[in-house]
Symmetry: C2
Subunit: 255 residues, 2 copies
């Protein structure tokens, strides 16, 4: 379930943003994606790459303003970024069982009942199992471009996807994770075997998250360098300075 | 117990460090201290000030290498720093009951027994009660110097001292706290009333600290801006990048 299959990359549009960042839409097989490269990225000076994770369900178009903001920040440090539509998000085919899992989650939350491991597994694991090989295929294709090179970082999105990628994909050397989604028990086991440097953001008052589970996950990681940064506020309230700190983490490890 | 008494400031030495930072030893009444001012600090451009906290017991001379490192970092951002020998530390008179409290702490740790609230109170509260008015007197004297001005930050040292100062001293507008010492229950109550911006460092594997108590303290703070940064490692293993992040916190709030 973690191996990549070779999928063809085809660019469909190319736009120069006002700060000189080149934004190119692509498809990887049938999967839509966006690549942002800094003006410094050339075949003789290829840029390192950050894979921009997303929350499940919203879709890349609705996430675009935040994605391009993160990409511009990375580009200012000479780093390329890529986003990929998640399985079941945007216009992609819904994941089997996803609607039922979301309905069960809502029912549990509405009833004030605990969100069971079974619900979390059905909500998250099918996404992880499908997204990870797609990201690995994207890496194969993106790193074959002359202006993009390693090392590679993974940033944000569904934390269980980041953990799995950090574990199975050796080209990813650093991960900035967002502790803002449910954590399957099996992800805790995978976390113990993760050894790359980690920067974990936690919104202390995240209404859709279990703080204790996030702390347990941070504790589990086997990495010799791991940082937890927790800030006041809800899921979408990550302060600007926390974004800047995460940017410095990637600059330290990818440049 | 929180009011300051007026104590005279007398400089005893003055040394220009190689980076242009001026290091002046002083006494405040009988209490030894050190003031570091950046080359940019003049009566027409007075510098903001960081009070450099210290751990209890070691004494300012043994802490000097770390203190001057922190002071140089702040000076590079145009910020002055001051250290003050803690009550009972260095050559100062031991605090009544401190030896017994330390012996009881060691006995509990050796026996693998929990460190009781009673031990923590006897270990920490007499220090807090004496240190806080001394720091406030130091502020009176240091802010009267033409080259030093507010706003003021408090950084590191005994966290219960930092919490009390953040609560009672309105000239302190931001605090960088180190969750590396025992937390009396009463400090938790004080923390709920603290509202200034906070940057709290926690060493995740601190052998002489209770991680759960540190998280509970962070949760308690009433501040609308509070950041917890936790890193892998023991008490003395704060990574260099964490120091830089704390420096940026003060730059943001004092400049």
């Amino acid at each position: 379930m973690n191996s990549s299959t070779s999928l063809p990359l085809a660019f469909s549009s190319s736009t120069a943003l006002d700060d000189g960042v080149l934004e190119r839409r692509f498809t990887l097989g049938e999967i839509p994606g966006i690549l942002w490269t800094p003006p410094t990225a050339t075949p003789s000076h290829p840029a390192p790459l950050i894979l921009l994770g997303q929350p499940g369900g919203l879709g890349m178009d609705r996430m675009y303003p935040r994605l391009v903001g993160r990409a511009r920040g990375a580009a200012a440090d000479g780093i390329a970024s890529a986003a990929l539509e998640l399985p079941g998000s945007g216009d992609r085919t819904p994941l089997p069982g996803a609607d039922q899992a979301r309905a069960d989650l809502r029912a549990a939350l509405t009833a004030g009942e605990p969100v069971t491991d079974d619900i979390v597994d059905r909500l998250v694991l099918p996404l992880v199992d499908r997204a990870v090989p797609e990201w690995r295929s994207a890496l194969d294709a993106l790193l074959a471009l002359p202006e993009v090179d390693g090392p590679v970082g993974f940033s944000g999105g569904v934390i269980a996807v980041g953990v799995r990628l950090a574990l199975v994909e050796p080209r990813i050397v650093a991960a900035g994770l967002f502790a803002g989604s449910y954590v399957p028990r099996s992800t805790l086991g995978e976390a113990r075997r993760v050894t790359i440097p980690l920067h974990v953001l936690l919104q202390w008052d995240d209404e859709g998250n279990d703080r204790q589970a996030a702390l347990e996950l941070f504790d589990a990681f086997g990495s010799a360098e791991k940082t937890l940064q927790a800030n006041v506020g809800g899921h979408t309230g990550v302060p600007a300075f926390a974004g800047a700190d995460a940017g410095r983490f990637f600059e330290r490890h990818l440049r």
